[in-house]
Amino acid sequence: MAIEEDVIVIGGGIAGSIAALSAADTGAQVRLVTHKKSTLRHASGLIDVLGYTDGESGPVHDPFTSLDGLPEEHPYSLVGESAIRGGLEIFDTVTDGAYSGAHTDQNALVTTSGGAIKPTARYPTSAAAGLVSDDRSMLIVGFRSLTDFNGELVADHLAAAGVPFEVNGAEIEVPGNYRADARVTRIANALDLNKDLSYNGRTLPAREAFAEAIKPHLGTADRVGVPALLGDDHADDVRADLERSLGVAVFEIPMGPPSYPGLRLEDLLFDALDDAGVRISDGNPAVGYETETRRLDTKPPQMETHSSQSQLTGVEERFRTMLSSSFLQPVG
């Protein structure tokens, strides 16, 4: 038996979630179809609007003043500034308190896990103290057993880029006995639950042990950046405890999967979808569709709606048919 909704949104990432919330806000009955519920574990958690254009040699400092220079076929030119701002407004509402950047149109500059400088429009509050456009001195700390991130390398790259502050890097051992299996998830869990860890012959709560390990490298730094592994459900508490112990601001630098900033954002978005009454179908990829008009994936704009009765089919072991008068396929 076919499922029938007013609006079916295909894709459970940031764009799909925001589109579903926007549709639900109109009073429509909305279903979000996503192959895998967890898609943001691969995402940095940063929200970019416009970082670079062909006409500007460096990163864009104000995405909205640069919109006019975009080609007319650019998706932003097609949907217009008000639609972009509308999407950001929904995002800001959903992530209130967990994200920063809404106070200005200016892009912020953040560091990547490789030490490159990246413009972004919204950033997790856990990354807010790490803006490269902030002139406070910085220490970047990496953990030797986590080979995807090197604090000294990141610091060197930032210094070479001419950042307006003193920056140093350090590589330290992960407190506890994680040498054989120092996965990001294990460390994040230890910090989240503040588990007891051995450090320098003592047993300390994880957050205190990490602070003790960082302190000898602190020097005159006003802020400390670490890879984004500072907990999951209690991430704010983890960061606050480290800041209390160290006496300086602490920030996270987004990492590859599993990305904790991405996972935390996913939680916020799916909570908002639940609150808005959006139904979610996961596990079944959308594999085809039939419409009385054009196919969804063939022509711009990238977000399309169809007013005729249409049919979407998904498959796992058997086909499931969904009917709707409107499909959205946002691609972010």
């Binding site: 460096g58 106070h103 200005t104 149109d105 456009s133 606050a240």
Partner: protein, 50 residues
């Protein structure tokens, strides 16, 4: 690598003062929790006089 990319890589094309410098958050456990935004001395865009 072209000149523009070289400029970005070395930072010579970046005027850091033009970007969001964030909301300076006080260290947990100290007095206050947040000071005003520090974007070139301007007030927050979403608060106060627009």
């Amino acid at each position: 690598m072209n000149a523009d990319h070289d400029a970005v890589r070395t930072g010579s094309a970046i005027d850091f003062s033009k970007f969001d410098s964030g909301q300076t958050t006080a260290v947990a456990g100290t007095a206050g929790t947040e000071t005003a935004a520090t974007d070139g001395g301007l007030p927050p865009a979403n608060g106060g006089d627009q």
